[in-house]
Amino acid sequence: MATAYSVTLRTPASTATLIAAAVLIVALFAAPAYASRGMIQDLFFILTMLTLAQYWNLLAGYGGLVSVGQQAFVGIGAYALYGAVILGGADPILSILLGGVAALLLAIPTAFFAFRLQGAYFAIGTWVIAEIARLSVAQWRGVGGGTGTSLPRDALRELAFVDGIRALFDVRASAARDILSYWLALTLAVITIAGVYWLLRTKRGLALAAVRDNTEAAKSVGVDASRMKWVVFLTSAFGTGLAGGLIYLQKARISPDAAFSVTDWTAYVIFIVVIGGIGTIEGPILGVLVFFVLQSLLADYGSWYLMVLGLIGISVMLFAPRGLWGLISERTGLQLFPIRRRLVGGSNTKREV
């Protein structure tokens, strides 16, 4: 009887997901060949928000670290890129990596402080650090101080690959830059999802999921969990910094209030994750699509839009705390990115461990 069991992470759906994902990624990479410039810009927005949402979900949904200060890493990543390009004449694309590194460096002292704050106070602690970062950057005259600055035209003109893309799709330079940014965003999103999935399936990641699911287990793996908190926090900061650099490379204009905006880079991201389904990889993907649709429909209504978004977020949290994806997977048992180990075989095939 015992031999009839085996432990697996794979579900039939996950194999199908893998194939579908591969097809989707190829199709998305080829998008510039058939999609309009407006659509490429929309996709860029969706993909960067998705990336931010995945990292926030990793923090809050898996690590239990509810940060309201992710804008610190978006802003610092973006400003590192601007600083390197404007003051150091660095290559903009390589400077995206620098954005990630800068966010990582900021994350170390941030974690040091914020981890001293228990539970809910951690949230506001991260917010304070983000405010400090914003106020400090506003003092940095070299990149425009409080009013901000633009990327120099020269740097944009000499952007690598742009000439190649112009020739390939027969488009203007600005459209070619959008295509380049889009490809980078797509690459980042794919790496992010794959990386988060991988991280959660490592032994430590599984412990993390166990901690979230079961507070008793949390006590027995206490030591591991605290190291995992650091890993999760630093990883999220790095990825968020990369996204920040990329977002502002595409925008080509920056100001502290925009780059460190709690609404744009944390509130939206939280709503995406909550509406889609916190604590799953599928949730943010679904959430970002819903968010995009809502924004397309309602963005003209300004503050009404934000109120509606807030009310939807509250309702989801109260009445369907596992989000849209939670509702779907409850009804169908579908799991595209299975993380928990399942015991298969024997008579009791559906037991989760």
Binding site: A60, G64, V66, V68, F113, R116, L117, G119, A120, Y121, A123, I124, G125, W127, V128, E131, I132, L135, S136, A138, Q139, T215, V262, T263, A267, I270, F271, V274, I278, G302, S303, W304, L306, M307, L309, G310, L311, G313, I314, M317, L318, P321
Partner: protein, 286 residues
């Protein structure tokens, strides 16, 4: 001399921050709930007072008699209908729901009152000052500070000397056993949040009379309040007052050196205290 003046300004400013913080501290102490919308609720209170003053022509200090019961009812209903559902082991639901609430209130105010700066007018009081020797102090900041002390004395009295205060402490210790004593925990929590909103209304009065406000400034007030609570040590209202004073003094001293450093200096003071005393200055035992 200018420095003494600056520091006194800072101390008095700390009274305002303690008023922001007292409600936050009360609610956290009783139900371990951090209300991320606390700052926005204060701003909402300021608009309620503003309307009472402009529409009904009331003196702002009488308008508080309208705002306080309204805010109590709002807090009570909010807790009873929404926040009670989020309480539990998991810290995510209360955080995310109150964060959503913050966004809703902010944008609701924006829709209702536009982004224009407002101010509650208190007539001659705004500029009145008294001199003690060479130092002159504004009457309004003094009133603010006095109110903060009064609020803390009253809250401590309620907490430690009254039946509802006993129910607060018992429920916070152990809600299930409290219910065996005939206490309804949901009702106790609702009352606590209502009380916190009354304090928020008082804070709103002084916030609105002292300086301009608009719908977007709530989160910054939340942050000051939070810093005061953490510096003071969770659970001690006098500690919260001291925390507010530290933030206030840091801000006025920072501003005296360079006007752009005002807010930054407050945050930095918070980080320094957190670095030296991770549990705040007066942590409650256990």
């Amino acid at each position: 001399m200018i420095w003494i003046d600056t520091i006194i300004q800072g101390i008095l400013l700390g009274g305002l921050y303690a008023l922001f913080a007292a409600g936050l501290s009360l609610v956290f102490g009783i139900m371990r709930l951090v209300n991320l919308a606390h700052g926005d609720l204060i701003i909402l209170g300021a608009y309620i007072i503003l309307i009472s003053v402009t529409v009904l022509g009331l003196n702002p200090f009488f308008a508080i008699l309208i705002a306080a019961p309204l805010m109590f009812a709002l807090g009570w209903a909010l807790q009873k209908l929404v926040l009670n559902r989020t309480l539990g082991e998991d810290i995510l639901p209360p955080l995310l729901v109150t964060f959503g609430l913050s966004v809703v209130i902010q944008n609701g105010l924006l829709e209702g009152f536009s982004a224009d700066s407002q101010r509650i007018s208190a007539g001659a009081l705004e500029t009145a000052s008294i001199s003690v020797g060479p130092i002159s102090m504004g009457v309004l900041p003094l009133l603010t500070f006095g109110s903060a002390i009064l609020v803390i004395v009253v809250l401590n009295h309620i907490f430690y000397r009254t039946a509802i205060g006993r129910a607060f402490r018992a429920t916070s210790d152990d809600a299930v056993t409290a219910s065996l004593m005939g206490i309804k925990p949901e009702r106790v929590f609702a009352t606590a949040t209502g009380l916190a909103m009354v304090v928020a209304a008082i804070a709103a009065l002084y916030l609105g009379v002292r300086a301009n406000f608009d719908p977007s400034i709530g989160p910054a007030r939340l942050i000051y309040a939070f810093e005061a609570v953490i510096i003071g040590g969770l659970g001690s209202l006098w500690g919260t007052l001291l925390g507010g004073v530290i933030i206030g003094v840091a801000q006025t001293v920072g501003a005296a050196i360079n006007p752009e450093w005002q807010i930054l200096a407050g945050h930095v003071a918070f980080l320094v205290v957190l670095l030296i005393r991770p549990r705040g200055l007066f942590p409650r035992g256990n």
